[in-house]
């Protein structure tokens, strides 16, 4: 083998090794220090033909048992009767999803009051502690549940500042102060949809939009519609 051929072979092998190393890094080492669980197929339980139930919880502090960032605000999802910290869910396509959301967090207020009116819901209304409505006072919002690609947005009312029995961190007993929001939306065709909270609710971060607002697994996630 000539010198040129040997050099060419060495360069080719070197490029291949570097390519494989980059591929391994991207595939296995870029998930970050806080892994999230994927997916939660059983989070949605069938309630009637053509519909499923999805039960969620929002907490002001997720607590040490559920996160390495115990002070971060977070969504939780109920799976097999237990609330987990997971924000990547699988839902069936073209199906009604009945959502019940228990919020144990206080009021923050919406940065854009326009988001105080619900959109994209079946029936056009959502329930706050059993009372149907289409809009709420933006100052009373604690969080939102929004799937922008589906046109779905629901404001979540916060716990009153005068409430006595508030929850310090998750898991929050149902005996502690909370609000209950109910609504129904319909999933469309199969796809990969992001969902997020629009309230700047990340305490201690610049403008409230750091940490849990910028990290999948807390106030943002994906819905895999299959």
């Amino acid at each position: 083998m000539s010198v040129t051929a040997r050099k060419s072979l060495a360069v080719t092998v070197g490029v291949l090794i570097v390519g494989v190393l980059i591929g391994v890094y991207v595939a296995f080492l870029t998930n970050g220090p806080t892994p999230y669980r994927v997916p939660v197929a059983s989070a949605a339980t069938a309630s009637a033909p053509g519909s499923v139930d999805l039960t969620l919880e929002t907490v002001g502090s997720v607590g040490p048992s559920l996160s390495p960032n115990p002070t971060w605000v977070s969504y939780l999802v109920r799976e097999n009767g237990v609330f987990h910290r997971s924000t990547v869910w699988t839902l069936p396509a073209n199906t009604l999803v009945h959502v019940t959301l228990y919020n144990f967090d206080s009021k923050t207020g919406l940065r854009n009051p326009f988001l105080a009116q619900a959109r994209g819901l079946v029936g056009g209304t959502f329930g706050i502690d059993g009372k149907p409505t289409t809009v709420m006072n933006p100052d009373d919002a604690s969080h939102t549940f929004a799937i922008p690609q589906m046109g779905v947005i629901v404001p979540i009312e916060g716990v009153s500042s005068s409430a006595k029995n508030t929850c310090g961190f998750a898991p929050c007993p149902m005996s502690t102060a909370h609000t209950t929001t109910t609504f129904t939306f319909r999933t469309g065709k199969a796809g990969h949809y992001r969902w997020q909270c629009f309230v700047p609710c990340a305490a201690g971060f610049f403008y409230g939009f750091g940490g849990p607002m910028q990290t999948i697994g807390y106030m943002d996630g994906y819905i895999n519609v299959v």
């Binding site: 009051p113 809009v135 409230g208 939009f209 607002m213």
Partner: protein, 276 residues
Amino acid sequence: MLSSHGRKLAALTVIGTAIVLPLMVFVLGPNMPPGKDTQVAKGQVFDNTVLLVVMTPFTVFILVYLIYALWAFRAPKGETELIDGPPIRGHGPSQIAWLATTTISVLFLAVFGSTELLANNGAGGGGGPNPVAKPSGAVLPIQVIGQQWEFTYRYPTYGGVETAQLVIPEGQEIAFHVTSLDVIHSFWAYELGVKADANPGVDNVAYVKADHPQTFQVRCAELCGLWHGYMFDTGLVVTPAAFASWIAARKSQFAPVSKYLPPYSTTYAPDPQHRG
């Protein structure tokens, strides 16, 4: 006088440019982004074509020189010692040609770019709160509000109603007032040829007039956080009658929340600024 190599390189560059330039002007140029849906977009296609024309001879020269050098200056077979040619110093014609070519090119691009920035009422770019180039007739103001991670739109002419979708009437000069509630975003209505930064506390105005009904993509063009890649939606250009019907429907739909909206303003300093 040019050396033998110089003459060959010059000839090959001229021939290559003569072949490639018509392809750039008549084949690639008309297909340059962002398309031909508005005068602003057409102007940008023209600008991109002119840039292609300017860069073509330079690109051809570089490629010709590279290929020529690999062929003409290769080591003779069996030659193992690397032998460099004599250094070129103080070659007046080469220096003058280089200075003249680059100076003319840069000055042309500066004048051309400055002129084109003012064409079509600002070329679809944000001109700040008081743009230098403005349309002469009546304009319909529409506010574009960026927030992590969605654009919403307010129509001050129609009671300040806010919507989640951008719909504009055809044949009407539009003034987009672009701002942000949090970080820096960039409002990019691709097919319309409009791109304007959305800065908090700033009213950035961009003009456009859509000629015919169509859909167009709206994207954020400034890396703005976790869901930047998902910050997009689809806008519509509709007939004036359809627009009147649509805006009336939105006023009715969003009447419940309209009472909570702040009075229309070119910028907003919303609460809460922070939590905790």
